[in-house]
Symmetry: C2
Subunit: 140 residues, 2 copies
């Protein structure tokens, strides 16, 4: 685990620091997406708010995490599983937001569909966010 984290940081030419290790750990420890606030809480406010912002920005620009748009316009982040790198993200999967438990997850196995646009429009990226009940919540 600690090794995997150090690998990720080294591969992206980032120095290994407390906040980066801890925040990466949070992402690797659970399957879903995290909001800035979640991270502050789960680190026990050990790091300055500004440091968390900057760490997320660096991870984002390096292609370690990607951001997820949601219907209520809160900012969520999740680990990139494909081979994303500095500048080029390929996270063309669908995101799912559970209305009951609030969790947001990447559905890596569900790729975004082709959208037929009207004449003249050129698409560069497509974001699909599905709301509903997740596996756990639709059982009961």
């Amino acid at each position: 685990m600690q090794e995997a984290i150090q690998d990720i940081l080294k591969k992206n030419q980032l120095s290994i620091t407390g906040s980066r290790v801890k925040i990466l750990e949070l992402f690797l420890d659970q399957p879903g997406a995290l909001a800035h606030g979640d991270i502050e809480r789960r680190t026990g406010e050990k790091f300055d708010r500004v440091t968390v912002y900057r760490t997320l920005q660096v991870f984002l620009s390096k292609g370690i995490i990607h951001s997820i748009p949601t219907a209520d316009n809160s900012v969520l982040y999740a680990l990139c599983k494909d081979e994303c790198g500095e500048g080029h993200h390929h996270d063309n999967h669908v995101h799912f937001v559970c209305d009951k438990c609030g969790n947001t997850v990447c559905l890596d196995e569900v790729t975004v569909p082709v959208i037929r646009l009207p004449r003249g429009y050129k698409s560069s990226q497509i974001q699909v966010v599905v709301n509903g009940k997740c596996k756990a919540c639709s059982r009961d």
Copy 2:
């Protein structure tokens, strides 16, 4: 024009006030989506910021406008063209954000596709946001 606006407000049992008329006018005057900030600017800061927030909230709850999630998590609003009403929105169309001119539009003729979810997931709503170049911007 003024009549159409009054009709909309009456139909939704809203009193006819300066801010509501002016803000509806803005939406009717142009084809795209508007952010809160756009509205403040285009009204020439004639109305209090709080009034604009409350007006948008009322319009949203009445089904006069709908909100659009974007990749950069800014909040946009656009007129509902279908028959949306208090509580029930049916804005199942794709949204397009132009990376060049920044405009966001409703592609009313492009309906959101069916998404096959993994076993156990139940969907209640699907948001599709396409980025790229709009008709005007892809010409040059």
